[in-house]
């Protein structure tokens, strides 16, 4: 316990479990639920068009649990699955999802104070929205682990059911872009960026992240731009010594 306490961020108290943060945690991720459902709807329809079975779709939803990576993988799904094409799919998935490593790393000062049998399973619930909501809670001094886990479990269950209607209705769904479904995640991200604004100086890493992401997107291709931009932004914040 003493070593765990030493590792704890000196600015914040160590993690604990108390059920009174379950509802606030769910409330914090609630704005994401319509977007999650819309994303799942579009994804289910795509999978039906690509001739996956509903069982296959649900297995992917449950185990991979990375919306963007699943979308990208199914869109570029090979006609023939071989060792080489599966390796390509795994690499593609890794480039999209490696950002989860940065997110779970940032949760270490908080969840690292819990025993590993509690902290590691909790990290399986890391998603963009769940992590962003938990990070904001932590920034305001929160330490209750149920905030992240409660919201994360609800997001997970909603995610599991979200693809079913789209899969079953695939024939009737016209282009989801007609309804602006492709704006769901970017609009949510943009909304999360506004409260993160703490002055121009603190936004320098964002500019670095944006420029690097655009350059990598333009000249490298694939999805490397996410991790390259995120790392560049973070490193630039570390280099800014004053």
């Amino acid at each position: 316990m003493t070593t765990a306490a030493k590792q704890a961020d000196h600015l914040h108290e160590p993690a604990y479990w108390s059920r009174n943060a379950i509802w606030p945690g769910i409330y914090a991720i609630a704005p994401m639920l319509p977007g999650t459902l819309a994303f799942g709807l579009a994804f289910g329809a795509l999978c039906a068009q690509k001739l996956f079975t509903l069982t296959e779709v649900e297995v992917m939803m449950a185990f991979v649990y990375g919306g963007l990576s699943q979308f990208v993988a199914v869109q570029s799904w090979p006609d023939q699955l071989t060792v080489s094409t599966i390796a390509t799919l795994a690499l593609l998935t890794a480039t999209v999802n490696i950002r989860f490593a940065l997110m779970s790393a940032s949760l270490r000062p908080w969840f690292g104070t819990l025993p590993p049998w509690q902290s590691y399973p909790s990290m399986l619930l890391v998603t963009d929205g769940g992590w962003l909501a938990a990070t904001r809670y932590r920034d305001h001094g929160g330490a209750n682990a149920w905030f992240f886990v409660g919201g994360g479990l609800v997001l997970y269950v909603v995610w599991l059911v979200s693809s079913v209607p789209g899969f079953l209705l695939a024939g009737q769904l016209t282009d989801p872009k007609t309804y602006g479904v492709d704006l769901v995640m970017p609009a949510f991200y943009a909304a999360m960026l506004v409260p993160a604004w703490k002055g121009a100086r603190r936004a320098i890493p964002w500019v670095v992240a944006g420029i690097v992401a655009l350059v990598v997107h333009r000249f490298v291709g694939g999805y490397w731009f996410i991790i390259a931009g995120a790392l560049a932004g973070s490193i630039s914040a570390g280099l800014d010594d004053a």
Partner: protein, 105 residues
């Protein structure tokens, strides 16, 4: 008709799951060996904004004028009302309307 769960598809899912679980657990595990100095603290604090911008900006730029205007509208909505739910609705509505009246993108 094909099987409920094709075995080669399952293999592909296992590979995708392995790299994703490794990402989720690996960062957390690695930070066990990295002391949270003020410098590391600043790097972690810069992560949310950096990840958001890096993941969205190329997509937004590629999305063209409709997506850019919709995102701008979502951000303005957030500045005025501080409500993520409203921001998502505004973003979707602006894009849907723009496309309905004939803007492409």
């Amino acid at each position: 008709m094909h099987d409920v769960m094709r075995s080669d598809v399952l293999l592909a899912f296992i590979a995708m799951t392995a790299v994703t679980v490794a990402s989720r657990l690996g960062g957390f595990w690695l930070m066990r060996y990295i002391p949270v100095t003020p410098r590391v603290r600043r790097m972690l604090d810069a992560l949310p904004g950096s990840i958001i911008v890096a993941a969205s900006l190329p997509v937004v730029v590629e999305g063209g004028v409709v997506v850019m205007v919709a995102i701008a509208a979502a951000m303005i909505a957030t500045i005025i009302r501080r409500n993520e739910f409203l921001a998502v609705i505004v973003g979707m509505a602006v894009a849907a309307l723009a496309r309905a009246v004939g803007f492409s993108g």
